[in-house]
């Protein structure tokens, strides 16, 4: 009979990483929505959702270790500290301004991890950079996404944690950006956090690695140049000193 996994015993020299995505989606309110009396403030222009999901949008993969998520909204919102204890971990609100949302991920207490994870996310309502549509396109229907990839790392996890995570492979990231259209299609709610083309995938990771490697090459070249320069100068100094003495 296997002994119960211990919440205090840790597995040495091993780390577990669990990917999540967090961020927000937003869109302009339609004319009817803006006119509806359920809107809290007539100044509100956008509807937005701030969330924490699994990269594949299969949030049941998060439940083994995340107990609840709190979203600290701007103080002007009613009940600005939103505690979400059930899936999906998200808050939908209307508003007009961008502000920092503090997302706090509370882990299950049985795991034996005391720390909570805090992420600050700047709510994004307006498009910028490549998101800005050319004039003439319909801005009303555009969904603005500001999504970040993150990994929760359990270094030397407790046995409980290890057992829970290894029940189901949770670190699966799609191979290509548009590899899992089903997840996007099956998403409940009108604003899917993932664009069909901008999913976090192995390909994106490889692209990033490629970029980093290129940059690293350049930088190490620079390091070499500077090192030789220093050595040369030192030699110069020494020879000059010798000459001076003579």
């Amino acid at each position: 009979m296997a002994p119960q996994p211990s919440p205090t015993k840790r597995i040495k020299t091993l780390s577990l990483s669990c990917p999540i995505i967090y961020g927000n989606t937003a869109r302009l309110l339609t004319a009817e929505e803006r006119a509806s009396p359920s809107l809290q403030n007539s100044n509100h222009t956008h509807k937005w959702t701030v969330f924490v999901h699994h990269p594949t949008l299969d949030d049941t993969l998060l439940t083994p270790y995340i107990k609840k998520v709190t979203f600290k909204l701007h103080d002007t919102y009613n009940n600005s500290n939103r505690v979400i204890e059930q899936l999906p971990f998200e808050v939908t609100e209307t508003g007009w301004g961008e502000f920092d949302i503090v997302i706090r991920i509370h882990l299950c207490p049985e795991l034996g991890e005391k720390a909570n994870l805090t992420i600050t996310h700047r709510l994004q309502l307006h498009p910028y950079g490549s998101q800005v549509l050319p004039p003439g396109e319909d801005k009303e229907k555009q969904i603005i996404r500001s999504v970040q990839y993150e990994e929760i790392v359990f270094n030397e996890p407790t046995e409980v944690m290890f057992e829970r995570v290894t029940k189901r492979p949770g670190n699966l990231i799609p191979e290509k950006p548009s590899a899992s259209p089903a997840a996007v299609a099956n998403f409940e709610g009108d604003m899917c956090p993932l664009d069909a083309n901008t999913q976090f995938s192995k390909m994106l990771e490889r692209q990033e690695l490629h970029r980093l490697n290129a940059a690293l090459g350049k930088v190490s070249k620079q390091v070499e140049i500077l090192r030789t320069a220093i050595v040369d100068k030192r030699k110069d100094d020494i020879s000059r000193n010798v000459a001076d003495h003579q």
Binding site: S15, S17, A115, I152, T166, S220, Q222
Partner: protein, 505 residues
């Protein structure tokens, strides 16, 4: 300073002397006429007569009014009409109404004052809903009792006896018990020997049920009034609940239904636990002040330890981070060219070597071992397996060593024989670095520099076409990113040194 002076200063043409009282009156009228808080200071001339009988509207006596002079008081004088208006409202009628309390059986007519007219007071007595309806206490007859309760009692006694065979009664103890019985006159509670309880008879059970109905399950009151025989409160409760349970079960058996199954399970009364609970509470109450103080001081001590532990962990983390910083060995081998440097190098190499030897003896991580095994060629694996088989056979011949081997989740995982790809699916990574235990966000481990240097690094990152934060902070990306940032820091440091050398020339 008078008002005329003020008017002078403000360059306002005041009217003739005769106009002033009327202006003032105008003010007062406007104030008293409307209860709104207007502070008009208009000096419009009035066309009305200037008779002094106008003060009547102000609510001030004439003498006082005349004393006012030119300086009109800044206070607003309100007509006190509000109070009167209220007093003129209709008086709500109260009625001396008859009522009956349904909980009384004698039909006594009582009276009380009631708001509203008589016709509306046909409603039932307001507090009637608080009348206790009494519990549906199951009843039983002598026959019932004989049929199943007494039987159960006997059974219980028998089982109880068999359970207590371990504690055999010696001659002394029995003698002592009989002595106590004589002293306390069968007051079992006071005796607190507790080993044998007086058995419950039909009469006593019936008496208990009667009391329960009378006192409405108020156990404390019931216990106080219980006269039949000295019993503990818990004994009474246990008896009542078990009997109720039995009756219900009996009824179910009779009608072969499964009613009240919830209730039956809820009627399980754990006397031992209840007694223990009370004992705990009493002990808690009986603590001396010294004990309480000790407890508090212990709690404080514990908190102190916790804080100290946190501190040391934080300090250790800091130290580790310091050790992690890039080795800026800018001078390459130059420092080892002298004889002194050479000996130093030799010493450091020797220490690391001896350290490595030590670690070799330490049992290795099963997962790393697995990894190494996976790297081997199939033939090698086979040969190793045959070796292992031989080893396990040898081990099984020593049964003790085999039994002591613990099966932990790691080994169950190992039995699955994870491949590299599967490992990745689970997000497992085996590392040899010594990182602090615990949970953190991957992107929070980006090396940080002083703000001035960080700004420079950020600009150079932007030049290289890399974001300030990696978009996908996976393990491999982060390691590469860390290297890049550290190298950038190194570049900055080297640049500084070059500048220093140049300026020193």
């Amino acid at each position: 300073m008078s008002s005329s002076d003020i008017l002078d200063v403000l360059n306002i043409q005041s009217g003739s002397k005769s106009d002033e009282p009327s202006a003032k009156r105008q003010k007062l009228n406007s104030v008293s006429g409307s209860s709104t808080t207007t502070t008009t200071t208009s000096t419009t001339t009035t066309t009305g007569a200037t008779d002094s009988s106008d003060f009547k509207g102000t609510g001030i006596s004439r003498e006082l009014y005349q004393l006012l002079g030119q300086n009109t008081p800044p206070i607003l004088l309100k007509q006190q009409s509000k109070f009167k208006d209220k007093a003129l409202d209709k008086v709500t009628p109260w009625h001396w109404a008859k009522f009956q309390n349904k909980s009384r059986k004698d039909g006594l007519n009582l009276r009380h004052w009631n708001k509203g007219s008589d016709a509306l007071n046909t409603a039932a007595y307001k507090f009637e809903k608080y009348n206790t309806k009494g519990y549906d206490v199951p009843s039983f007859t002598k026959e019932d009792y004989e049929e199943f309760l007494a039987e159960n009692d006997k059974e219980e006694e028998e089982t109880g006896e068999t359970e207590e065979t371990e504690a055999a009664w010696g001659y002394e103890e029995t003698q002592y018990l009989f002595h106590l019985v004589q002293v306390y006159d069968l007051n079992w509670i006071e005796e607190e020997t507790g080993e044998t309880e007086a058995a419950w008879g039909y009469e006593e059970t019936q008496y208990l049920f009667h009391l329960v109905q009378v006192y409405d399950l108020n156990w404390i009151v019931l216990y106080d009034r219980y006269k039949y025989q000295g019993r503990r409160l818990e004994d009474l409760k246990e008896r009542f609940y078990t009997v109720c349970q039995r009756i219900l079960i009996h009824r179910n058996e009779k009608s072969s239904t499964n009613a009240n199954s919830n209730l039956i399970t809820n009627l399980n009364y754990n006397k031992a636990k209840e007694l223990e609970r009370k004992e705990y509470l009493e002990r808690l109450l009986a603590r001396t002040p010294a004990e309480i103080a000790e407890e508090e001081s212990l709690l404080i001590e514990a908190k102190k330890y916790e804080i100290a532990a946190k501190k040391t962990i934080a300090e250790r983390a800091q130290l580790l981070q310091l050790l992690d910083s890039p080795v800026s060995s800018s001078a390459s081998i130059e420092q080892y060219l002298t004889s002194q440097g050479l000996t130093q190098l030799y010493n450091t190499l020797m220490t690391t070597k001896s350290k490595r030897k030590q670690t070799d003896n330490v049992p290795e991580n099963p997962l790393t071992a697995l990894n190494e095994r996976l790297k081997l060629t199939p033939q090698q694996v086979q040969s190793q397996q045959s070796q292992q088989q031989a080893a396990t056979q040898a081990a099984s011949s020593v049964p003790h060593a085999h039994a002591q081997r613990k099966v932990n989740p790691l080994s169950t995982l190992l039995s699955k024989n994870l491949t590299k790809k599967e490992e990745q699916q689970y997000g497992i990574q085996i590392h040899t670095e010594k990182l602090p235990q615990g949970v953190y966000l991957r992107s929070s481990k980006i090396p940080q520099f002083k703000t001035s240097i960080q700004a420079k690094i950020n600009t150079s990152l932007a030049e290289l076409g890399v974001g300030v934060k990696p978009t996908m902070p996976t393990a491999i990306v982060m390691s590469r990113y860390e290297e890049l940032v550290k190298n950038l820091g190194l570049v900055l440091e080297l640049k500084r040194q070059v500048d220093k050398l140049e300026s020193g020339r």
